[in-house]
């Protein structure tokens, strides 16, 4: 993907829809999720539809992403109601990317067909691993065969844009097991692969287990796994376009591209995050509180952070530098390159700059770059102080 193409998504509009329901919550997950509360699903969908109906009118969406939780866990008819209301209120562009996250254990051809007919054209499976031991220690309910069956089901009803999520660096995972996982994922021919390092997030059952002495992921092992993935995926024709995301040509996740190009996206549902009119905002996270707030006729916003002045530039770098294409030069990249920390990153080969762009070339150290970016002082302010 060309840098110009990547940056062009700044003008697109997207929406994120959160579906918090899961059959069983995974022990490492720290998203806004619930299990055993399917009885709330209809009320929840009513609330999301109401939130959409009341939202400020906007331009048609170029990408909509149903994330979770497990969107595929719900009756497709309920998801269809949301798509319908989005289309009715804001419109969906021609050829808009409509993604749904799905779990492999119950993704039947019948369900796939229903979803396809509702309009979804991209499905992202939480495959995670093909190693039964790893799947078990991740608390997943599916086995490797479910993944292949799900991909086949999706293909059979006409999904031509499929993504697999993989997780590496689970304690106990062998390098060979990771190699097999990658190979079996590639063999299924998905258009897109995301591979994430298992991360111990605070407050999760995994974090409690680690605090009680269970083995924690080893960052050096995870670096090995990442490097192996990078090499293998490139060999098989996948290009890395973001820290954790690879795709076939032109099959990048458009929703992702919009977020990282500092494009605007709406947020619907509990715990959802958006960026619009210069502000980053988030919805109430707790499911029942969200539903009750919407039902009482109020806006379910939990907070809004306006991004102003110099922070707009830092924000551009912050999101943009996750991409392989990096960011076009601006006051922020120049400030970074002028700083001691920027020079250190350059010498250490973490970042690279040419006449038009700045890139992170050691993606495993992106947070180190981000910390330096966020600490940059505005050159305009210091200019004033000098005057």
């Amino acid at each position: 993907m060309t840098p110009i193409h990547a940056d062009s998504f700044v003008g697109s509009a997207a929406a994120y829809v959160h579906i918090p329901f899961c059959a069983v919550v995974c022990p490492y997950c720290d998203f806004a999720v619930v299990e055993g509360q399917d009885d709330l699903a209809e009320r929840y969908i009513d609330a999301v539809v109401a939130e959409i109906a009341r939202s400020e009118r906007w331009r048609p969406f170029d990408a909509v992403y149903f994330g979770g939780g497990t969107p595929s866990h719900l009756d497709p008819v309920l998801l269809g109601r949301i798509l319908e209301s989005l289309d009715a209120k804001h419109g969906l562009s021609d050829g808009a990317e409509l993604t749904l996250e799905a779990n492999p254990e119950d993704f039947t051809a019948e369900r796939a067909g229903l979803l396809r007919r509702l309009g979804f054209n991209r499905v992202s499976f939480g495959a995670q691993s093909f190693d039964p031991k790893v799947l078990q220690s991740l608390g997943r309910r599916h086995v490797a065969d479910h993944i292949a069956a799900s991909v086949q089901a999706a293909r059979s009803v006409g999904f031509d844009n499929i993504s697999l999520d993989l997780i590496y660096g689970t304690p106990g995972e062998r390098s060979k097991s990771w190699a097999i996982t990658l190979q079996r994922a590639i063999d299924l021919g998905p258009e897109h692969i995301s591979s994430y390092a298992l991360t111990v997030e605070r407050g999760t059952p995994l974090s409690r287990a680690v605090n009680d002495g269970a083995p924690a992921p080893d960052p050096d092992v995870q670096a090995d796994r990442y490097e192996h993935a990078e090499e293998t995926l490139e060999q098989h024709g996948y290009s890395r376009y973001e820290v954790s995301n690879w795709s076939r040509e032109d099959k990048e996740c458009r929703y992702n591209l919009i977020v990282w190009a500092q494009g605007e996206y709406e947020a619907f549902g509990n715990g959802a995050h958006g960026f619009r009119d210069g502000s980053r905002f988030r919805n109430i996270r707790r499911l029942e509180a969200y539903i009750e707030t919407v039902e009482s006729g109020e806006h379910p916003r939990a907070g809004t952070d306006p991004i102003e002045d110099w922070d707009v530039e830092l924000d551009r770098l912050f999101v943009g530098l996750r991409r392989t294409v990096g960011v076009a030069h601006g006051p922020g990249t120049r400030a970074l390159l002028d700083s001691d920390e920027g020079q250190r990153l350059l010498i250490a080969g973490v970042i690279e700059a040419d006449e038009s762009r700045l890139r992170v070339v050691r993606p495993l150290l992106t947070d180190a770059v981000h910390r330096s970016v966020l600490a940059l002082q505005s050159p305009i302010v210091s200019g004033k102080a000098d005057a």
Binding site: G67, T199, A267, R282, R344, L345, D367, A368, H370
Partner: protein, 602 residues
């Protein structure tokens, strides 16, 4: 004014915890100097730290009135003494103002090295030493054994040893009578010009410098113009008086009397302890024998963690010095730690106390570099230069030799621990001399050893090898040439001055391995591999590596939750602000503190 025949001036010599402060309390109570309602524990230990640690740092003085069995009223001047080797110079000051010394020994623990050394000091100063055994009420008390030890040192009969308990009060009356009968009265000449010795001073925020004096000859009158013979300064006696322990002004002090003097001087440096005071109009010809100035033995760099606190640290040191003339410092600059001071201390306890007071009373956050002794370097031109910091050591080609201070050390121990102690002392380059049996069970070991070897953890090791039964005392001996080297610690090739140390060649590898190993655990992984090396000159003797960080990235930016991620990274960045850049390496402040911690090995 009291006739000299009714005055008894005495000090108490006792080991830490042998009950000196409790006895002082009891004496104050018995003689009515302090009403019982004013009584609090360890009345003479006024500093918080003294009470907490149960030690006496500054000598205190109190005048007691005692009605003796012979019907006469006597004045007993108690001049308290510190019990720790770091402060032994204060003991000699106190002794110079007395005719007698009460040697107080714990009935369960017997004579200790410090008390023995101080007893010798008292005997050499011509004092009458009164032996007393305290804590006879303890179940573990062995008064007969303690008495036998004392007799073997002082001579006399075991029956002459006073047996008492400061806690219960048993034997205290007998002790008071013994003090009256055995301590000689002062023999000053009232008819010659005034001579009074300055044995201590302290700074009082309201009254300026308060000087503790003992009149030897002649009279000191309020309002008199005085001459301080050593400093050759003249000051007026604005106020003189007794310490009961409250200040009680009087018109006149006569021969043999002990009291205080206020002249209006505000700077402690202008009053020299050991000086002789005489009259400006009618001066004495000869001063009294003075004492040696206390000399710092241990040096350490003190640096504020926050560079902005440099001035605050200087002011705090100046305030402490008002009451501690032994505290000396000079500015020091460290590439790693910034601006600070090289501070001289009398010993490790003194160092700890000063640091603790700076941090506690002046709210400072400090990094202290590894303590060092003062070395003398012989230069190619024959010059002999003292260095107090490893940074100042010239390169091997620019020096001919290095000498280091030795001390004469004395250990008193139960005989069963002689083996382990000899092993410890010889392992520290000690040369063992005499062994004197105080009793069949207890022995005094004399040896000579480099100060650098005992000043850090020797005392702790001694205690742990002897279950706490051995005691140690030492005094400076001489400087001797040794095979000393400077070990530098390099981070990514850059020497870090704060970690350099001068050590004996045989200990260089140990030091190098210890520091590189510690630092490897303390320095976080960086963008680069960070080699940590110990080197003598250009030669690397030990090496560790902090491997470069390979993964520092959050895998997933969930659902566009950019704000939360930014906040997390900003918080992490704040944490990194407490890092010091050493060359290209980020070193957390805590790493300096932890790496320089004196060993707590046991």
């Amino acid at each position: 004014m009291t006739d000299q025949s009714r005055i008894r001036n005495f000090s108490i010599i006792a080991h830490i915890d042998h009950g000196k402060s409790t006895l002082a309390d009891r004496l104050l109570e018995r003689t009515g100097a302090v009403a019982e309602r004013e009584m609090r524990e360890q009345l003479l230990d006024t500093m918080d730290l003294e009470r907490e640690r149960g030690i006496t740092i500054k000598a205190q003085t109190v005048r007691l009135e005692y009605q003796a069995d012979d019907g006469e009223k006597y004045i007993l001047n108690l001049i308290d003494t510190p019990g720790h080797v770091d402060f032994s110079y204060e003991v000699s000051r106190s002794l110079a103002a007395c005719e007698g010394a009460l040697l107080l020994v714990d009935a369960a623990q017997g004579v200790q090295a410090q008390t023995l050394a101080n007893s010798y000091m008292a005997i050499e100063a011509g004092l009458e030493v009164i032996p007393a055994i305290n804590k006879i009420d303890l179940p573990a008390a062995e008064p007969d054994r303690a008495a036998a030890e004392m007799v073997s040192i002082l001579g006399g009969e075991p029956n002459d040893v006073v047996r008492m308990s400061a806690k219960t009060g048993a034997g205290v009356d007998h002790l008071l009578e013994t003090l009256v009968s055995e301590v000689p009265s002062p023999q000053g000449d009232p008819d010659v010009p005034l001579r009074a010795i300055v044995f201590d001073s302290y700074f009082d925020a309201y009254r300026g410098v308060v000087v503790y004096i003992r009149v030897v000859d002649g009279y000191l009158d309020t309002g008199e113009a005085l001459r301080f013979m050593a400093t050759n300064e003249s000051h007026d006696a604005n106020e003189i008086g007794f310490l009961t322990p409250k200040s009680v002004p009087v018109q006149r002090l006569g021969p043999g009397e002990v009291g205080y003097l206020i002249t209006g001087v505000k700077e402690i440096d202008r009053i020299k302890v050991g000086d002789t005071i005489t009259m400006a109009r009618n001066p004495a010809d000869e001063p009294l024998p003075g004492y040696d100035e206390p000399k710092p033995m241990v040096f350490s760099g003190l640096f504020p963690t926050d560079g902005d606190d440099y001035e605050k640290l200087r002011e705090a040191l100046e305030k402490l010095r008002l009451n501690d003339a032994s505290l000396l410092w000079e500015p020091e600059t460290s590439k790693a730690l910034g601006f600070g001071f090289r501070v001289g201390f009398l010993g490790l306890l003194h160092m700890e106390i000063v640091r603790e007071r700076l941090e506690r009373e002046y709210d400072l956050d400090l990094v202290a570099t590894a303590p060092s002794v003062a070395y003398r370097v012989i230069m190619p031109n024959g010059e002999d230069v003292e260095i107090k910091s490893p940074q100042d050591l010239p390169e091997p080609n620019d020096r001919i030799g290095i000498t280091e201070p030795y001390v004469k050390a004395m250990i008193i121990t139960p005989t069963e621990y002689v083996g382990p102690i000899l092993e410890l002392a010889t392992g520290r380059r000690g040369e063992v001399g005499n062994m004197n049996y105080l009793s069949p069970e207890r022995v005094e070991l004399d040896f000579e050893i480099p100060l650098a070897e005992i000043v850090f953890d020797f005392f702790d090791l001694l205690k742990s090898k002897t279950k706490g039964y051995a005691s140690l005392d030492y005094e400076p001996a001489d400087y001797r040439q040794s095979d000393l080297v400077k070990v530098d610690i390099l981070l990514a090739g850059q020497p870090v001055d704060a970690f350099s140390a001068i050590v004996h060649r045989d200990n260089a590898l140990d030091y190098g391995q210890k520091m590189t190993g510690r630092l490897r655990g303390l320095i976080p992984r960086q963008l680069f591999d960070v080699p940590i090396q110990a080197a003598i000159g250009g030669r690397i003797i030990s090496r560790e590596t902090v491997k470069a960080q390979r993964k520092d990235v959050t895998a997933k930016c969930y659902g566009g939750d950019v704000s939360r991620k930014k906040k997390l990274l900003k918080r992490q960045k704040e944490g990194k602000k407490r890092m010091k850049m050493v060359g290209s390496v980020e070193v957390p402040q805590e790493a300096f503190v932890a790496a320089l911690q004196v060993d707590d090995q046991s």
